[in-house]
C-alpha cells in the first residue's frame, strides 16, 4: 500500500468523493488558489473549478449557513473552517440549525454536511490557533463528531462523513498533517462513524484517547511494556456518538482506566468517558478512573515554555500511567 501523510489522505478523500459525486463541494477561506492555509485543498480548485471549490468571505456563520442551505437543496457541502478556534461565530448555525434540522422537521429535512477544521496545539499557535474545542459539540444531539489519528482513518472516516445523511464535524489535528504518515490503499474504502479502535491490546490499563495523543499513548505503552505493564490503547475516533460498547469492553477487561486528552478536563470527552466507565464498570474496577489533560487555563500560550507546560507530553502521560499501574 502507498504511504500518505495525514494531510494527503484528507485531500485524497475529498478529491475521490468529488470525482465520484458531483454534489460534493467545498466552501471555505483560502481554499481556492492558495489551497488552504495548510495546503489541504491544494489543486482541488484547478480540478473542480471555482464553484465547487469556492473561496468564502471572512465570515464563518456564512460558510456554515450557506452550506446548510446547499445541503437542503441536495448538495453535499464541505464547510472548511480555517482553524477550529474560528468556529465560534458559526456555533448558532451548527447547533441551532444543522443539528436540529432533521429533528425539528420530523425527518422531512436533513443536512448532509461535513464541517472540516484543524485543531490542536504544539505548533506555536498560541491561544487562538491551538485549541481543541470539540467538547462543545459532543453533547449536542443531531451532530456527529470524528477525529482521526492516522492517514488511513482520516480518509476512511472522511469518505464515510461525506456519505452520511447528517452533519458531521471532522476535526483534523494540525500537528498530524505532515508529521503522521501511514499506508492508505488506492482502492475505495470507508471507516465507519461511531466506532472506536483498539490500536494496542493489553490487559493492565485501558487508555482511552484521540487525536495526536493516540501516538503519545502508543509510545508510552511500549515504555511500560518494558516493565511488564500492558496498556490497551483505544483510539476513540468518534467523539459523538462515543463507542460505549468498546469503552466498556476495554475498561472491564483491564480494570484500570486512564482517559487522556489534549485540552482541559472540565466537562470534556474525558468526563463523559469516565462517567460511562463509572456507571457501567463499577464491579470491574481495580482503581479510580484517572484522567489527564491540559490545565484549566483558556488555551495554549505562545512562549515555548508555556506551551510545553500546557501539553500532555509522553513523559507526563508515562508518569500518570505508572502511578495508576502502582495503585
Amino acid at each position: 500500500m502507498p504511504t500518505r501523510s495525514y494531510l494527503e489522505a484528507i485531500r485524497e478523500g475529498m478529491r475521490d468523493e468529488m470525482r465520484r459525486d458531483e454534489r460534493v463541494m467545498i466552501l471555505g477561506e483560502d481554499v481556492g488558489t492558495k489551497g488552504g492555509v495548510f495546503g489541504t485543498t491544494e489543486g482541488l480548485q484547478k480540478e473542480f473549478g471555482e464553484w465547487r471549490v469556492m473561496d468564502a468571505p471572512l465570515a464563518e456563520s456564512c460558510i456554515v449557513g450557506v452550506c446548510i442551505g446547499a445541503a437542503l437543496y441536495g448538495m453535499r457541502p464541505i464547510a472548511e473552517i480555517q482553524f477550529q478556534d474560528f468556529i465560534m461565530p458559526a456555533v448558532d448555525q451548527i447547533v441551532s440549525e444543522a443539528a436540529k434540522m432533521r429533528y425539528r422537521s420530523n425527518n422531512h429535512w436533513g443536512v448532509p454536511m461535513v464541517l472540516r477544521a484543524p485543531f490542536g496545539g504544539g505548533i506555536h499557535g498560541a491561544l487562538y490557533h491551538s485549541q481543541s474545542i470539540e467538547a462543545m459539540f459532543c453533547g449536542v444531539p443531531g451532530l456527529k463528531v470524528v477525529v482521526p489519528s492516522t492517514p488511513y482513518d482520516a480518509k476512511g472516516l472522511l469518505v464515510s462523513a461525506l456519505r452520511d445523511p447528517d452533519p458531521v464535524l471532522f476535526f483534523e489535528h494540525k500537528r498530524a498533517y505532515r508529521s503522521v504518515k501511514g499506508e492508505v490503499p488506492d482502492e475505495e474504502y470507508t471507516v465507519p462513524l461511531g466506532a472506536a479502535a483498539v490500536v494496542r491490546e493489553g490487559e493492565d490499563i485501558a487508555v482511552f484517547t484521540y487525536g495526536m495523543m493516540v501516538h503519545a499513548a502508543l509510545e508510552v505503552a511500549e515504555r511500560l511494556a518494558a516493565d511488564g505493564f500492558e496498556c490497551e490503547v483505544v483510539d476513540l475516533r468518534s467523539l459523538r456518538p462515543l463507542d460505549r460498547a468498546a469503552i466498556i469492553r476495554s475498561a472491564r477487561k483491564c480494570g484500570k482506566v486512564m482517559v487522556a486528552q489534549e485540552p482541559n478536563l472540565a466537562v470534556s470527552i474525558s468526563s463523559e468517558v469516565s462517567a460511562i466507565v463509572a456507571e457501567e464498570c463499577f464491579e470491574h474496577l481495580d482503581a479510580p478512573v484517572m484522567r489527564i489533560g491540559g490545565p484549566e487555563i483558556p488555551a495554549m500560550p505562545y512562549a515555548a515554555a508555556l506551551e510545553e507546560f500546557y501539553l500532555v507530553t509522553p513523559d507526563k502521560l508515562e508518569a500518570a500511567l505508572r502511578k495508576l499501574a502502582a495503585y
Binding site: V66, L72, Y73, H108, G142
Partner: protein, 335 residues
Amino acid sequence: MVVAKTDAVSRENLDGETLRAMYRHMLRSRVLDERMWVLNRQGRAPFWISGMGHEAIQVAVGMNMEPGTDWLAPYYRDLALTLVLGMTPRDQLLSVLAKAEDPNSGGRQMPAHYGSRAHNIISTGSPTTTQLLHAAGIALAMRMRGDAAICVTAFGEGSTSGGDFHEALNFTATHKLAVVFVVENNGYAISVPVEKQMATPNVSDRAIAYGIPGVSVDGNDAIACYRAARDAVQRARSGAGPTLLEAKVHRLTSHSSDDDQRRYRSADDLEAERLQDCMPRFRAMLEDLGVLGPGDSDSLRTELVAEVDEATAYAEQAADPLAETALLHVYAEDV
C-alpha cells in the same frame, strides 16, 4: 381615488382573475389567523404568533413565485405565504394543535415554525435571521445545478440588525445569486421600535452596502406589493442577483399570544394602524373596480370560514404524537 387605482392596476395589467385570487389568498389567511387566536383564547392552543397586517406583501410575493420550482425560507409571520404556496389551513391547524400529522414538524415545534418538503418550504426554527444564509446556500446550489429557480426568504426588520443578515446579503450580492430578501417591516421587534434598532428611515437603504437594489413599498397597498414582488422575482430569475424588498406593514396584533402591546404602545397608534389594514383597503378598491361585486366578499368569507371550520374539526380529532416518538429522527439512521 378610483382612477388612480384603475391606472395602477391597468399599468400592471392585472386581470380581474388575478386580483380576485390575491384577495382570496389574503382573506383566507386572515380568516385562518383569526381562528388561531380564537383557539388560543379558548385555551385549546397554548401559543400563536400572527401574520395579521402582513398579508398583502406575502400574497404578492407568493403569487409571483413558481410553486414546485422556487423555494422559500420563511419566518413565523408567513402564514399567508405558506398558503399561497400550497399549504392548507388544515396543515397549520394541525400544527397549532401540535398533532402528529402536522407536516411542519409533527407537533415538535411551536406553531408558525413553518416547513414543508412538498412545497419547497424549508424547516424554520426560532432563532431569527439564520434562514437568510440558508436561502443563500439554496440559491448557490440552484446556480451550480443550472436550475432556473429562485429562493425567497422573509424576515422582520428587527432581524436585519443581526450578523447573518449582513453575511447573507454580502454573499448573495457578491455571487449574484437568485434570492429575494423580503423584509416585513412592522416597525417593532417585539417592543423595540425601529428607531432603537437602526438609524436609517428605510431598511431598504441597507441594500446600497451590497450594490444591490433596495425597494420600499407600502405593505398595505396590495397592488404596489405585487409590482415590487414581480420585479424582484424577475430580477432574481434573470440572473441579475438579489433584491432587498421592504414592505412597510403593521403588526395588527401583539407580538404573540404571550405579549400585550398595549403595555408599550399607545391606543392611538394602534387604532391608527388598524385603520390602514390592507384587507378592507384592497376590498374597497376591488369593489370600486367592479372586480368584486356587492356581497362577493361576504360570500367568499363564508366559504373560507367553512373551510377553516372543517379543517379545525379535522385537526381537533387528529392524533397527538406518541410520547416514545420523541426519540425518533435525531439522525437518519433512526428511520
